[in-house]
């Protein structure tokens, strides 16, 4: 009977202590750093991996242009600080591809010309990371890849593993714009090739770069207009070259779906 009382009392105590308001999880970890999309898209989860890869070409630039800058958005996790916080980036070598060379293809991440920009300002959790690309003559024939990542240091530890790196592919030739996606190929203009890209530029007088493609999507009816224009131009080209229709650099016949 005595044991039964204990059980009963324990049950009563357990009953009254079992329910407790959930404590909100408050971030009290150290500051962490990771890349993210444009601040306008930061809370839209489908854009978490946007801008992971950027492409760039010097093709449209005047010959006097020797370098240009590509920007990526980076975010500090863990709140703001009252002081500026520098951060560290480093290149990661990719296997079996042409990796960009610091000083030749881009300004090294430890070069003082760029390290001064690798700072999260006091009171802020965001900055734009400049990656300075150099117009090396080899870009006329090559498309090196530059993968870089956040390095933990005294100010920041690493953020989510799949968000701590970014990649840029660049050349001085025409290159496939980031916005020439699989759906852009499937529904509108077919498989990308440099020859097709050059043909589009020639037929329309437009760059067919990311900005142009974004505008195609943004302006209702414009995609259809350009589809008609380039289809007509391709037919006219092939009619003007009987037996020698336009083919891409891999020898495949160029078509628009």
């Amino acid at each position: 009977m005595k044991n039964l009382k204990y059980v009963f009392v324990l049950a009563i105590v357990a009953a009254f202590t079992a329910c407790k308001q959930d404590q909100y999880y408050l971030y009290n970890d150290i500051g962490r750093l990771q890349f993210g999309p444009n601040p306008d898209l930061i809370y839209r989860t489908t854009y978490n991996l946007a801008d992971t890869l950027k492409t760039y070409t010097f093709y449209y630039k005047d010959a006097t242009v020797t370098q240009d800058t590509v920007f990526f958005d980076i975010y500090a996790i863990g709140g703001t600080k009252n002081t500026d916080r520098s951060f560290t980036l480093a290149q990661e070598q990719l296997p079996n591809v042409l990796n960009a060379e610091p000083g030749k293809h881009y300004v090294a991440f430890n070069d003082p010309k760029v390290t001064k920009f690798y700072v999260i300002k006091a009171g802020s959790v965001h900055t734009r990371v400049p990656v300075v690309l150099l117009r090396d003559p080899s870009l006329k024939t090559n498309t090196p890849k530059l993968k870089f990542k956040v390095i933990s240091d005294a100010n920041f530890q690493l953020g989510e593993p799949n968000l701590i790196w970014r990649k840029v592919e660049f050349t001085d030739r025409l290159s496939q714009p980031s916005q020439w996606t699989a759906s852009f190929s499937q529904y509108y203009f077919g498989k990308y090739s440099v020859t097709k890209h050059a043909f589009l530029i020639d037929a329309t007088g437009q760059k067919w770069d990311d900005d142009f493609i974004n505008n195609l999507y943004a302006t209702g009816g414009l995609i259809s207009y350009y589809q008609m224009m380039v289809k007509t131009a391709l037919i006219d080209y092939n009619n003007a070259h009987p037996g020698n229709p336009l083919k891409d650099e891999a020898g495949e016949l160029i078509v628009f779906p």
Partner: protein, 516 residues
């Protein structure tokens, strides 16, 4: 042990038996607020009228203390969520109407402050301008086109006229001879400051086209800026609508705005004839309305082509349906006339509309051979049922053909310049319907009907004539397809009339079928 079990069961029962009581012990009957003196609809003129409503408000709660809110939101909104704009927080409304002319919904919210109970009352508001109701006549002087507007403030009979209203508002006439009038309500423009559906009158001419904002009659776009790329060829233009698309034939080439996807009201590129970019030249005759595909005729290849919802980059060649009397492609015939007679809904699994039309052909090898074809068109197939026209029949030498849409199975046409004939397409019986006074010459025959508002309903056969550079449009009632009685409406003015359209705030894209 048994006591342990009993204790545990009691404990579980204790912990689970208590629940907060959310029951409603208020047994009063449901409150009902009543508003009298608020009509189901109002029609007011923007920038002129005051909308005055003095309602009587009562409640089943005898001690009710009311607070009020008047608001208004627009209808026919696409691409945005309509917002309720507060007009007043008083019992009575006295609103100086400023909103643009279109359809709106007036909302009256009455709240009992004692019980916090609110009830909503609504009325439809037609905000109009002097341009949003009346007969529009498309006319020209042989070189330039303009519009006349016949105002109908009380019923379908015009009481006054505004001549050359297009040039008066826009500062210049439209180049070319007038062709067709059509009316869109989903055409996109930013005339109100934001891109949205715009009630648009479309005037096509032999050299230009003008989309015109019906509230102000100001032109929205012309051939120079209605396309992503201004066409090198200027006309002749024929604007019409099909299912979810606006079409514009310019110089025999067709362009479209697909309205089933986002667009900015700009016509796209010229449709290709086929994968070889074969040359083509479309006839001025077409068959389409808001329910159907657009069917056109390529005079270069003597073939029917079609488009669905303005999609694609190439015209679709029409194929033959079972039992057709002639092929849809390479007919070797000249198209003299084509119009749409009716549509029919094809239920599951089709879920689409087929159309019945009428065409008149002349054989290219033997021009003496003419036929009338009844057309059944579904998707991209056609079936023709042909009837020869004997040289002794009036239709053989007819001009100004037209078929009424969704009416009797009849073809109207003129003979000898001033005789109006009908031909029953079911039994080929021809009948002289009307003879114009000597000296007058028919410029068009149309049928149009409107059945939405009691004082303004009509079902007219319209006969336009010209003499000495002046036009006269007589509109007749019909019975069993024949003209009955004298003209119910007569419109007169200077110039040569080519088309007429009655516009009201309630006219929509499905009201009329644009056709010759």
């Amino acid at each position: 042990m048994k006591r342990i079990y009993i204790s545990l069961i009691a404990l579980v029962a204790l912990l689970s038996s208590c629940a907060k009581d959310h029951s409603n012990y208020d047994y009063r009957p449901k409150e009902n607020i009543t508003v009298k003196g608020m009509e189901t609809s109002y029609t007011v003129i923007s920038e002129k009228d005051n909308l005055v409503i003095n309602p009587e408000v009562s409640s089943t709660d005898a001690s009710a203390q009311f607070e009020y809110l008047w608001g208004i939101y627009e209808t026919n909104v696409q691409g945005a969520v309509p917002v309720l704009d507060t007009l007043a927080k008083t019992k009575n409304l006295n609103y100086a109407v400023k909103k643009p002319a279109k359809g709106w919904v007036l909302v009256y919210r009455v709240t009992n402050k004692n019980t916090k109970y609110s009830q909503y009352f609504t009325s439809s508001i037609n905000i109009v301008t002097e341009f949003t109701r009346g007969w529009y006549v498309a006319k020209d002087d042989g070189a330039q086109a303009d519009l006349d507007l016949f105002l109908t403030p009380t019923n379908i009979i015009p009481e006054s006229k505004k001549e050359n209203i297009y040039s008066a508002v826009n500062g210049a006439k439209l180049a070319g001879q007038a062709q067709l009038l059509s009316y869109y309500t989903g055409y996109k423009s930013d005339v109100t400051g934001v891109l949205g559906n715009t009630k648009t009158l479309v005037l096509s001419t032999s050299k230009d086209v003008s989309t015109i904002y019906i509230n102000t009659l100001k032109k929205i776009r012309t051939l120079d800026n209605a396309f992503f790329e201004t066409p090198a060829t200027r006309g002749p233009c024929y604007a019409f609508l099909g299912s979810s698309a606006y079409y514009l034939i310019n110089g025999g080439q067709v362009h479209a705005i697909s309205n089933s996807s986002l667009n900015v009201g700009i016509f796209g590129g010229r449709f290709l004839r086929d994968a070889n970019n074969s040359p083509y030249s479309l006839s001025k005759y077409f068959m389409a309305n808001w329910l159907t595909n657009a069917y056109m005729y390529d005079e270069t290849s003597s073939s029917f082509v079609a488009l669905s919802q303005g999609y694609g980059t190439s015209l679709t060649s029409v194929t033959d349906d079972a039992g057709t009397a002639m092929p849809a492609a390479n007919t070797n015939k000249k198209l003299i006339y084509m119009g749409i007679k009716n549509t029919t809904y094809l239920p599951a699994p089709a879920y689409r509309y087929a159309l019945m039309g009428c065409a008149i052909f002349q054989d290219k090898n033997n021009p003496a051979v003419k036929t009338i074809s009844e057309i059944y068109a579904d998707e991209f197939r056609m079936k023709f049922t042909n009837t020869p026209i004997n040289a002794t029949e009036q239709a053989y030498n007819g001009t100004n053909f037209t078929v009424p849409y969704a009416q009797e199975n009849i073809l109207y046409f003129s003979v000898n310049g001033n005789q109006i004939w009908s031909r029953n397409l079911s039994n080929n019986f021809e009948k002289l319907e009307y003879t114009l006074p000597a000296g007058e010459e028919v410029t068009f025959i149309r049928h149009k009907a409107y059945s939405s508002e009691a004082p303004y309903t009509y079902n007219f056969i319209m006969i336009a004539s010209q003499t000495g550079g002046n036009y006269k449009i007589r509109m007749f009632n019909k019975a069993s397809g024949s003209i009955t009685g004298g003209p119910m409406v007569t419109l007169e003015g200077t110039g040569i009339a080519k088309d007429v359209l009655y516009i009201t705030p309630s006219v929509g894209e499905g009201t009329y079928t644009t056709q010759w």
